[in-house]
Symmetry: C2
Subunit: 275 residues, 2 copies
């Protein structure tokens, strides 16, 4: 999928919602634990209920890895299920990988050959050769951390070299490694005030925006400062959708929550004359 | 294991060698492919041959993840085998993880509860709350990336805020998050000239030093600038040991290479009056 196709999907669905599948086995409804693969069953029902409002899913690898081999099985089955039943939906492995060149090549293989992901999140600390191996696959994307939503972002991401903060340096350098068709950036919704500066450096790239909902970010501000002529936004919500309810009707409630967010997004897309 | 015990093991073995188990299935001797789990069989033989010269093993997760579930099985079996047969040897999961707090907690669980690792490498970009969840386990360590051995280290790690480069800022901040008994730092041997500055900030911490051998770093320089009164060094070699030979005698050749490096290390330890 390239950026144009992603935008077309956004227009079709009238939504730029990404649902985060942070499917902690300790938080899913108890009755699912009778299934062979409770986390996959949870994800399957969430996906079936929310797919019409959603252009992307983002399972976070940590919630799967912590269960060892059975967790990896749930993750692979989830990506496979989405790709099979909803081929237009963009699937991001939120794995925050990155290593020296010959090793990053192995991570790229893990996510782009062994499984069905369209994109993987990558941490920029180790620089160019840690990122470019992921960019050698057609139609696969790197989602590079720029300015994250957590408190710890303050520790290093604002490190200021003659007026250029680290997250800006990450944007300046890395935008030369790929294109708007294979790179996007993580910018936390809790840092929406920085989106104006960020758009000066990367006006045309897609941004993946976590931090709406439980973390306190505002969709309205994200749109005001971050939206561009191709929308340029994937806004993620995880806990606020998938754990909104823990009864047997959890998937219906998740669908309602997704529909609400998609409804707001549709309004913003109209205001910007994008649909 | 705490830093004193690690130093005791170094004195006992007269070595501060860490062997990197970057066990690429495409590079291991072909005759092993007949085994049910060729990579585990390769690792088992490497470990049995080199353990007497080695204080640590460091499997890099990427080389396992790229094989999906069967790769994770090889990784878990390898860690379990080392812990069972060589309980004094320190096992580092070179995974370069890191995410927002509640997610890093899941990664910590993956490496410290599900498996037998003593330490995991962590990328610092996301700051304090991405690192501290790993520090809540007794006798388990974070190995934080400071200054890496690859070319891409130049892209961001020297970003200079009023005379403090990013890798120095990582050291300044993060040394307050843990202690010399649960944190060490990655400094590439190819950056040995920086060890003098690094030792001013963290005189007492252990350093994990990759980049000897295939990547061109010098053991002599690492020791000159990096060794402290408790040795303070784990020097890693991967390809130079494990893939030194690909015949049926690969494990004997690996042992020779490990013994050579351990011999040099023993001389340095004597020169510093540490043994």
């Amino acid at each position: 999928m390239n950026s144009k196709q992603l935008f077309e999907n956004i227009r079709k669905k009238k939504s730029f919602l990404c649902v985060g599948l942070d499917s902690d086995i300790d938080k899913i409804p108890g009755f699912l634990l009778d299934h062979d693969d409770p986390v996959f069953e949870f994800n399957r029902r969430i996906v079936d209920a929310t797919a019409q409002f959603t252009v992307a899913y983002k399972p976070n690898a940590a919630f799967y890895e912590c269960r060892g081999i059975s967790g990896w099985q749930s993750l692979e089955r989830t990506a496979g299920y989405i790709k099979q039943h909803y081929p237009d939906i963009f699937i991001i492995a939120d794995a925050k990988r990155g290593d020296i060149g010959n090793t990053s090549k192995m991570y790229a293989r893990a996510f782009f050959e062994g499984t069905n992901f369209d994109a993987v999140t990558v941490a920029p600390y180790m620089g160019e050769d840690s990122v470019t191996p992921f960019l050698s696959y057609d139609n696969r994307w790197v989602v590079l951390l720029a300015l994250t939503s957590n408190k710890g972002a303050d520790d290093f991401q604002y490190h200021n070299d003659n007026g250029t903060r680290l997250f800006e340096q990450v944007l300046h350098r890395s935008k030369q490694w790929g294109s708007i068709d294979n790179m996007m950036y993580v910018v936390g919704a809790t840092r929406a005030e920085m989106l104006e500066d960020i758009r000066k450096i990367i006006p045309d790239h897609f941004l993946l925006i976590p931090g709406i909902g439980a973390q306190g970010g505002s969709l309205e501000e994200v749109v005001r400062y971050g939206m561009n002529a191709q929308c340029g936004l994937l806004v993620n919500s995880s806990r606020g959708i998938i754990f909104a309810d823990t009864t047997s009707g959890f998937d219906r409630v998740a669908a309602q929550k997704a529909e609400e967010l998609a409804g707001e997004m549709s309004d913003y897309l109209q205001n910007f004359n994008l649909i």
